[in-house]
Structures are given as structure tokens and as C-alpha cells.
């Protein structure tokens, strides 16, 4: 596509990303996971609270990984985000359907 006009040859400042962020998200992920396991194994709490709690932890962890590890927070990720969000929306409708339908 030599002639397509998207300008890609503009010099970009070479910037090395630091792995610090990635270590951090790794540690956070591990912590969130351990917390979830711990609540289920040892938490003597209300059942529905546990359910909501661990699902929330899962979502938080997923968002962190999406943003940091998959670089979705960086520029130029508009359409990726739209489609992941769109997918999540459809997936969520499916899940809500299943939950509604089993519990009502």
C-alpha cells in the first residue's frame, strides 16, 4: 500500500516503556486473585455478598489487565475499546438474560 496516505514515517521519539507498570499490574492481579480465593475459602460472609464481591474483583482485574497489559489506555485505541466494550455489552446482556431467567 505504498501510496496510501497515512503518514507513518514521521519520526517518533523513541521512548522505552518501563516495566514498572507491568510489575505493578501483575502484583495487583495476584493480590486480587488471592483475595477472591481467600474470601471464598475462609470468608464467613453472606453468600450473595461473596458472589457480588468476587465478580467485582474479577471485573477490576480484567479492566486493569486490559488497560495496562493490552495497552488499551494508549492513544489510537478508540476502535479497539469500542468493540471490546460492545462485546462486553452483548456478553453482559447474555449473562443478565441467563441470570434473570434462572432466578425468576
Amino acid at each position: 500500500m505504498s501510496s496510501n496516505t497515512h503518514d507513518t514515517s514521521a519520526p517518533k521519539r523513541v521512548k522505552h516503556e518501563s516495566p514498572l507498570n507491568h510489575y505493578l499490574s501483575y502484583i495487583v492481579s495476584i493480590l486480587l486473585t488471592m483475595l477472591a480465593f481467600a474470601v471464598v475459602l475462609y470468608g464467613d460472609l453472606d453468600r450473595s455478598f461473596i458472589l457480588i464481591f468476587i465478580v467485582t474483583l474479577g471485573i477490576v482485574q480484567a479492566v486493569i489487565q486490559l488497560l495496562f497489559w493490552m495497552h488499551a489506555k494508549e492513544r489510537g485505541h478508540l476502535f479497539p475499546l469500542i468493540f471490546i466494550a460492545g462485546g462486553a455489552f452483548v456478553a453482559l446482556t447474555c449473562v443478565i438474560m441467563a441470570v434473570y431467567w434462572v432466578w425468576w
Binding site: T5, F89, M97
Partner: protein, 624 residues
């Protein structure tokens, strides 16, 4: 720039078509295959109508009738309508956005061959013990039950639904990657200056439709996988005895199925927008609200699927919520209808065949849409559901909407695709036969439904006032058939004439009319610079003869053709048969073939080839 690239490997004849990665040729392939399946599906419809012409006939009864119905619906939706839409997206979208190619030419060709393999696989069922017979909706457990005991009329029709499952699965993958291809093409490959709010309406609808494909097709993939697991590996998804649930299938099918109907209709909306605006010589009225309405319809389309399941027993809460959401879609759709009417308003309307089809679309679609809103009332749908009223509704929106739109697009873009103009007189004959036939066929069906005729029945009893309506309906179907034959004659007659079509025969407004007809292999000699909505019209009004180029003439990079997409599809085709006949060696062999082709594709980089400036067609003839 062009150092040491191989020249194009010139395949000719059949090999050229089997290996092509040129989006224009793939578009033609989609059109041929889709057109073929339209004839097959239409023939099935005619047979359905013959059986129902009079009460108590014994031509196609029991399972044979169910096979006709199932295959008619499935073929028309997946193997006729979708491919013809893809034909237009391939042939037109890259031209409308001023691109030389699509983002993934190889994937594009793979998408075509997968669809074709799936379609052929499904239709081989006719010769291999009987076609699928559980309706195009394939409701479980009718579709999972494999042995219905002594009573099977067609011997051992156990495999039928396997053809449905595997055929749709293979074709579905093709459609999904096709959708991704068009999204990326439209996002990344627009000509300079072509901002989103300057995109031609057809490209917008192709964009949203592709988005819907990407988000809706995985649902049917999952549904089909579950059905396949139940049928082939003894799974319990839909087996009530083991805790399975048949309503789950209905949910998954319709989570896909409803967006699917908007996948079908949105491109037709786009086609109508282009044609109405061209032939009234006006810009599209309310362009931005058109865009917004398209997006909104796409979005709402995901939240209404339960309206197909009002009678499944989900309860009044779910039914009410989905009823309101469904009705809401009438609003953006109405915006479109009125925008078209006001595009025509004050214009200089020319009644070419393309525009006759396009303007006939408007009232017909409104009739179908309004019966849709009637269906959206759950308590009333308790009466309509699964009757001929529903059949009438969806043929009004599909045949009176989508199919009229597609015919309109064919007359409009035929010169751009083939370099020849279809005959206008024959075109008008085609229109009148088809249009009158259409209303004769489907208008009486509203009343048949209300008078108690369920759908998917192979007969009805005399004495309930159903005779006249059914007979009229059958006569109408024959008229539609004759109309279609006239169209075929038109094509054949046109094909024998020389390629004399002008670059811009209709006084067009969008970029595809700025290049010769048919479009050269590289589309644009120089990428055009876009300065506004209706880019070509804008230049014409500014007194320019052609588009302003955005780059100097240079050598043009082209992708190499490849046989691998066909090989991959054949691999899956073979694997499909392996699964159906429970021969896992064959299944494995087929998959291995596909994987080897994928491996080769990954390992050997395609460097493409170049067209040098001196080889470019001298398209001085192009006038803006």
C-alpha cells in the same frame, strides 16, 4: 521503492477466479454465488407455494415440506441475501472511500470461499438422505432429536440438521472475518479528507453492518457449537432429562437472529440513500441524522431479541421491557423514511429502473415495518406468533425491503461492476412483474395468519376461508419467478454487448463514479483528495473535470493472488463431512489441510507485486 518484487503471477481463466484477492472480483464471485442460491431458495419457495396452492394437496407433505421451508429460509438469509450484500460491500465500499484495496485481501477471499463451502455443504444434503427440517431457526430439541422412531417418512433423515449446523458454522466464520475486514478497511484506508461525517451513506451502513456482524455472529457460533455437541458428542445442553434447557437455544439463536435482520436491512438502507439522492439530484436530506439513526438502529438491535420469544413463557416483565425496546426502533427507522421522502422533495426525480426499485422500497418497507410494530405488542403477538401474519411481516421487510433494495443496487452499480449497462426496458418489466407478484403473494398472508393459519404447515383444511388467499399467494409467487427470469434474460442480453459503460452514467455524486467502468485493477491511479460530502459532486459543482489527486502518480503495490483460501475452505468442507458421518479420521484430515494452509500463509510472507506508472490505464476518458 519497487525493488526486486516479483511481477504478478498471471493466472488466467478459471485459476484467476479461484485465486483472486481482488475485491472487485471477489464481489462478482459473491454476486454469482449469492444469485445462484437466490434461485435455489426461490425455487424452494415456488415449491412451497405449489403445495399450498390448494387445500389437502399431497405433493410435498410431512418432512419433505419441512425440508423445503427450512432450506428456503436458511438459503435465502445466509446464502443469498448475505452474500449479495457482501458483493456490494466488496465491489463498492473500497471505491467509495478512495482506497486501492481492502485491508485484508487474503482474508477477504477466504471469507468468500468459506461462505461458498458452507452453502454447498448444506445443499448437498438434498442428495445425501434429506435436508435439515427443523426450521431455519433450528429450535432444539426438534433439532437435537436424532431418532424419531418408526414414523420417519423419509428414511433415516438423521443427518439433516448436521448439514445445517456445519454448513452455517463454516459460512459463519467466513462472514465474521469478512466483517472484520470491512471494519478495518473503512477505519484505516479512507482517502485523505474523507472524514467519518463525509462517508457516503452506503459505506456508513456497510460499516455498521460489519460491526453488527462482529458482535452478533459469535452468538450463533456458540449456539451451533452447543447443538453440534448435543448431536454428535451426546451433550446435554438442550436435553431436559439431564437438566438441559431448550429455551437456551432460542435465546442464543435470537441474540444473533435479531441483529441479523438489521445486518440485512441496513445495507439496503444505504443503497436506497445513494440512489434516491443521485436520481433526485439532491444531497441526502438530513445526512447526520441518517448516520445517527443507523448507529442507533444497530445498537437497539441488540436489545430486542426476546420479541421472537414472547410466547416462550419468559413472563410479563421481560416481555414488556423488550416490547418497548422493540417499538423504539420505529423512531430511527422513521427518521430514515422521512429523510428519503424529503430528499426526493424538491428534486429532479429521474425514473430509471434503479430509482423505480428504490422508490418502491419506501412504502413497501413502511408496510412491513408497521406490522413489525404490531408484532411487538406481546399480548397481541400471542395471536400473531408463528402464523402467516409473521410470514407476511418479514417478507414485506425482506423481499419488499431488502430484495427491492438489492435489485435497485444491481441496476445502479452494474456498469461499475461489469462495464455494461443493464437494459432499462427489460428492467422496468422485471420491476412490475416482481412488484405486483410480491404484493399478490404476501398481502393476503396477513389475513391468512389472522384467520388461523399457522406457519410451517404443509396443508390446511378446506372450509376455513383460507383457499382464496393461498391461491392468490401462489399466483403471486409465480409472477415473482417470471420477473426474476426477466432479470436473468436482461443479464444475459447485456453480457453479450460490448463494454461501453461510461465512467459516470448516472451523474453520480460519490467517488466510485470518478474512475472508469469497470474499475481498473488498482481502482485509483492517484488517491483522490476529498473535500466534502458527495466528493465527486462537490468537484463537479466547483467546475472541476475530475478529482484532485492527493499524491503524484507512482508505482502501485498489489497483493499476490493465492490458492490457499480455497484450500482452507476445502479442508473445512472435508472436516464437516467427517463430523457428519462420525468419521473422525476424515474430520482430522480436513482440519489438518486447513492448518497446513494457515501455516504456509503465516510462514511465507506475501510481498505482493507492483504496477508501474507506465502500465496504468490512460483514463483520460474520465470526466467528472
Amino acid at each position: 521503492m519497487a525493488h526486486a518484487h516479483p511481477v504478478k503471477k498471471h493466472h488466467t481463466g478459471l485459476m484467476d477466479w479461484l485465486t483472486t484477492v481482488d475485491h472487485k472480483k471477489i464481489g462478482i464471485l459473491y454476486l454469482l454465488a449469492g444469485g445462484f442460491f437466490f434461485l435455489v431458495g426461490g425455487l424452494e419457495a415456488i415449491l412451497i407455494r405449489i403445495q399450498l396452492a390448494f387445500p389437502d394437496q399431497h405433493i410435498f407433505i410431512g418432512d419433505s415440506f419441512n425440508q423445503l421451508t427450512t432450506m428456503h429460509g436458511t438459503t435465502m438469509i445466509f446464502f443469498a441475501a448475505m452474500p449479495v450484500i457482501f458483493a456490494f460491500m466488496n465491489a463498492i465500499v473500497p471505491l467509495q472511500i478512495g482506497a486501492r484495496d481492502v485491508a485484508f485481501p487474503f482474508v477477504n477471499s477466504l471469507g468468500f470461499w468459506l461462505f461458498f463451502a458452507g452453502g454447498i455443504l448444506m445443499n448437498t444434503s438434498w442428495f445425501l438422505g434429506g435436508a435439515p427440517d427443523a426450521g431455519w431457526t433450528g429450535y432444539a430439541p426438534l433439532s437435537t432429536i436424532q431418532d424419531t422412531g418408526w414414523g420417519q417418512t423419509i428414511e433415516n433423515n438423521l443427518q439433516g440438521t448436521d448439514f445445517y449446523v456445519l454448513g452455517l458454522q463454516i459460512a459463519g466464520i467466513g462472514t465474521l472475518i469478512g466483517g472484520i475486514n470491512f471494519l478495518v478497511t473503512i477505519i484505516n484506508m479512507r482517502a485523505p479528507g474523507l472524514t467519518y461525517m463525509r462517508l457516503p451513506m452506503f459505506t456508513w451502513t456497510a460499516f455498521i453492518t460489519s460491526g453488527l456482524i462482529v458482535l452478533a455472529f459469535p452468538a450463533i457460533t456458540v449456539a451451533l457449537v452447543e447443538l453440534m455437541f448435543d448431536r454428535i458428542f451426546g451433550g446435554a445442553f438442550f436435553d431436559a432429562a439431564r437438566g438441559g434447557n431448550n429455551v437456551l437455544w432460542e435465546h442464543l439463536f435470537w441474540i444473533f437472529g435479531h441483529p441479523e435482520v438489521y445486518i440485512l436491512i441496513l445495507p439496503a438502507f444505504g443503497i436506497i440513500s445513494e440512489i434516491v439522492s443521485t436520481f433526485s439530484k439532491k444531497r441526502l436530506f438530513g445526512y447526520s441524522s441518517m448516520v445517527f439513526a443507523t448507529v442507533l438502529i444497530g445498537f437497539l438491535g441488540f436489545m430486542v431479541w426476546v420479541h421472537h420469544m414472547f410466547t416462550s413463557g419468559l413472563g410479563p416483565v421481560a416481555n414488556s421491557i423488550f416490547a418497548i425496546a422493540t417499538m423504539a426502533i420505529a423512531v430511527p427507522t422513521g427518521v430514515k423514511i422521512f429523510n428519503w421522502l424529503f430528499t426526493l422533495w424538491g428534486g429532479q426525480i429521474r425514473f430509471t429502473t434503479a430509482n423505480i426499485f428504490a422508490t418502491a422500497f419506501i412504502p413497501t418497507f413502511v408496510m412491513g415495518g408497521t406490522t413489525g410494530v404490531m408484532l411487538a405488542i406481546p399480548a397481541a403477538d400471542f395471536q400473531y406468533h408463528d402464523t402467516y401474519f409473521v410470514v407476511a411481516h418479514f417478507h414485506y421487510v425482506i423481499v419488499g425491503g431488502l430484495v427491492l433494495g438489492l435489485f435497485s443496487g444491481l441496476y445502479y452499480w452494474w456498469p461499475k461492476m461489469f462495464g455494461r449497462m443493464l437494459h432499462e426496458g427489460l428492467g422496468k418489466l422485471h420491476f412490475w412483474l416482481f412488484f405486483i407478484g410480491f404484493h399478490l403473494t404476501f398481502f393476503p398472508q396477513h389475513f391468512l395468519g389472522l384467520m388461523g393459519m399457522p406457519r410451517r404447515v404443509f396443508t390446511y383444511q378446506p372450509g376455513y376461508d383460507l383457499e382464496v388467499g393461498n391461491l392468490v399467494s401462489t399466483v403471486g409467487a409465480f409472477l415473482m419467478g417470471i420477473g426474476t427470469l426477466v432479470f436473468l434474460i436482461n443479464i444475459i442480453a447485456t453480457q453479450r454487448k460490448p463494454k461501453t459503460a461510461l465512467a459516470d452514467p448516472w451523474d453520480g455524486r460519490t467517488l466510485e463514479w470518478a474512475i472508469p467502468s469497470p474499475a481498473p485493477e488498482y481502482n485509483f491511479k492517484q488517491t483522490p483528495l476529498v473535500r466534502g460530502l458527495d466528493a465527486l459532486w462537490k468537484e463537479k459543482m466547483a467546475g472541476n473535470k475530475e478529482m484532485t489527486p492527493a499524491e503524484p502518480v507512482g508505482s502501485i503495490h498489489m497483493p499476490s493472488s493465492s490458492i490457499l483460501p480455497l484450500v482452507m475452505s476445502v479442508g473445512l468442507f472435508i472436516a464437516g463431512f467427517g463430523f457428519m458421518y462420525r468419521n473422525y479420521y476424515v474430520a482430522a484430515a480436513g482440519i489438518v489441510v486447513t492448518f497446513i494452509a494457515m501455516f504456509l500463509r503465516s510462514v511465507y510472507d506475501d510481498h505482493g507485486w507492483h504496477i508501474e506508472p507506465e502500465e496504468l490505464e490512460d483514463d483520460k476518458g474520465v470526466k467528472a
